[in-house]
């Protein structure tokens, strides 16, 4: 493909790494549609995402979601310049459905296919124009601005969801992304789900805990902040093994122990206080480590992405701490923070505009794809 012919390529993006089947279509940095079918309701009674149920739902949702996206964008498959698909990281069986669908689409249409990193795609969404519901990075730029001008320099991304918790540094979104830190066990959203179950609050846990926490006293109980001890942190000059990493499994155990202690004493469990204190522990450690990583790596622009970006306390504390550290924070609209196909299309469009070669149709999905691999 001649990349100079594609200053504003029409790209269709497919996402199936967890429980959302997403098809998005962009023209350059302009969002045309973001169609999502979620199997979340089917996971409620299990208290968490069940991979096999998610995979079955992807199979049945794919063609209807594709049809709806094309209709909504008012384009045909013949108009499309390239297809992009989440190739990893994510649930292996779920990724397989989207990848096979994308390859079939490439075979049937003859269009080039890009195998895309899901985490980098969460950042790519930051490049969509704000007047189309996209975030503000590119809001002041003309629609035909070259991609090199669209991303701020010294950019970082904090991604918090049910599937991941990461801080990234992005020097070049099409080829130079670095993982500064991540969770070493549960994702933050997963910790919310598990604690919500402990407290009898239902699934998904994030919104339930966020709501109840507003009526509780976060200072009533102090829960541990994982990996915050000096032996893990080290110093800026001599960083410890987990300076920018998180751990939430110990926190979950601490909440369980706390609930049991109230029960053992025959006292009413102060559910709202526990929810507030748990949320404070999660949000405090996420934001303090993220801001530390930004300061020590010269990051002055931070994008907050992932489904937990909907959490009111996470947004509030991230804003406060970023402001105090002189970091400009961008939070895309929630529909673009949760997993979706538009972010995959947005990153795909960047790859096309940068003249990067497509992936072909022989690649395998990679459930643990590293962020250093932007496209396969």
């Amino acid at each position: 493909m001649n990349s100079t012919q594609h200053a504003r390529p029409l790209v269709l993006g497919i996402e199936s790494s967890c429980d959302e089947t997403g098809v998005g279509i962009v023209r350059g940095t302009q969002l045309l549609t973001n169609t999502v079918s979620s199997s979340m309701d089917e996971h409620v009674r299990f208290g968490g995402v069940i991979p096999e149920i998610a995979s079955r739902a992807h199979l049945d949702a794919f063609v209807p979601t594709l049809r709806e996206a094309l209709a909504e964008a008012g384009v045909t498959l013949q108009d499309i310049d390239a297809i992009a698909v989440t190739s990893g990281p994510g649930l292996a069986g779920a990724l397989m459905v989207g990848v096979c669908a994308a390859k079939a689409l490439a075979v049937a249409t003859g269009k080039p296919l890009y195998a895309i990193n899901h985490l980098v795609a969460h950042v790519g969404v930051g490049l969509l124009q704000s007047d189309d519901g996209g975030p503000a990075f590119a809001g002041t730029l003309p629609a035909d601005a070259p991609p090199a001008d669209a991303l701020p320099e010294n950019l970082g991304a904090l991604l918090v969801s049910g599937g991941h918790t990461e801080i990234l540094r992005i020097r070049n979104i099409t080829g130079d992304v670095e993982l500064l830190g991540s969770t070493i066990d549960d994702a933050a959203g997963e910790a919310y789900d598990k604690v919500a179950r402990l407290l009898g609050l239902g699934y998904p846990g994030g919104p339930a805990i966020d709501k109840l926490a507003r009526t509780g006293n976060a200072k009533a109980i102090r829960f541990p902040r994982g990996l915050s001890q000096p032996k893990y942190m080290g110093t800026a000059d001599e960083p410890g093994p987990h300076r920018y990493d998180w751990s939430f499994s110990g926190l979950k155990t601490a909440v369980a122990r706390c609930v049991e202690q109230f029960e053992a004493r025959g006292e009413t469990v102060p559910v709202a206080d526990i929810a507030a204190a748990f949320q404070e522990a999660v949000v405090d450690i996420i934001t303090s480590k993220a801001v530390l990583a930004c300061r020590e790596n010269g990051i002055t622009e931070l994008l907050l992405g992932g489904g937990v970006a909907a959490n009111s306390r996470l947004r509030q504390l991230t804003e406060q701490r970023c402001a105090a550290a002189g970091i400009r924070l961008t939070v895309p609209p929630l529909a673009l923070c949760t997993d979706n196909g538009a972010m995959v299309a947005a990153l795909g469009a960047q790859l096309v505009m940068a003249g990067i070669a497509p992936s072909g149709i022989g690649f395998a999905p990679d459930s643990s794809m590293p962020v250093t691999t932007v496209s396969a």
Binding site: H58, F62, G93, V97, A104, A256
Partner: protein
């Protein structure tokens, strides 16, 4: 009539079959292994079409094996077939994957009048179905598909890789003891059944097993 048939219930395979062609084979491929579907299926189909000098517009229908088979592999073929049929605007049909082996049994020289086809269902079980043969007719499905232990199969000759795995407990037919369902036989079966005016299935997968998900019980104590 030109059919593109796909089956990924065990190995990954695809075939172009046509009633205008001798033996009805335009082209076909099948992998040896059961774990590389996502990598090989789309390139294989692309090559099939290219080698035959055909495009999607020439295909009259897409047929997919709907299992039973290991879930992730099975879905890779079904989603491929559904997507191709959607983009090309062609009819899409499903066929039970074990039918592919049943047709091969019917065409073999010393086929039993009643027999079982079995494939590997992992977890020490097999997917199986029971067929009857009448001379000059297509094999007729009598019972199944089911999933279960090989030792519990009806006392009949058993064809297919599921028999080879459990030859100690079933009457495995040696010539078929490593046979897997493949798209070529499936496509030929589809052609024959459509010609006979029979209905085919839709593309709903035959999982036969629920997901392993457990509704969580009461909270476990952490102390």
């Amino acid at each position: 009539m030109l059919i593109l048939a796909i089956d990924t219930s065990a190995v990954a395979s695809a075939a172009l079959v046509s009633d205008d062609t001798p033996e009805s084979v335009v082209g076909c491929f099948a992998t040896e292994d059961t774990r590389s579907h996502a990598e090989v299926l789309a390139p294989g189909i692309e090559a099939l079409l290219a080698e035959a000098g055909l495009s999607g517009a020439d295909v009259d229908a897409v047929v997919t094996g709907v299992g039973p088979g290991p879930f992730t592999g099975l879905r890779s073929g079904i989603v491929t077939a559904r997507t191709l049929a959607f983009v090309w605007g062609k009819p899409l049909y499903g066929l039970m994957s074990l039918d592919a082996i049943a047709l091969e049994v019917a065409e073999s020289t010393d086929a039993a009048p009643e027999f079982i086809v079995a494939t590997d269902a992992r977890r020490k079980e097999v997917y199986w179905a029971r067929y009857a043969l009448t001379t000059g007719q297509l094999p007729q499905l009598l019972d199944g598909p089911h999933v279960g232990f090989a030792a519990e199969l009806p006392d009949l000759p058993v064809y297919g890789a599921g028999a080879g795995l459990y030859a100690d407990v079933v009457k495995a037919v040696p010539e078929f003891s490593s046979r897997q369902p493949e798209a070529l036989s499936l496509g030929q079966f589809a052609l024959a059944r459509l010609a006979a005016g029979e209905l085919l299935l839709d593309s709903t997968p035959l999982y036969l097993r629920e997901s392993d998900a457990q509704v969580p019980g009461p909270r476990k104590r952490a102390l």
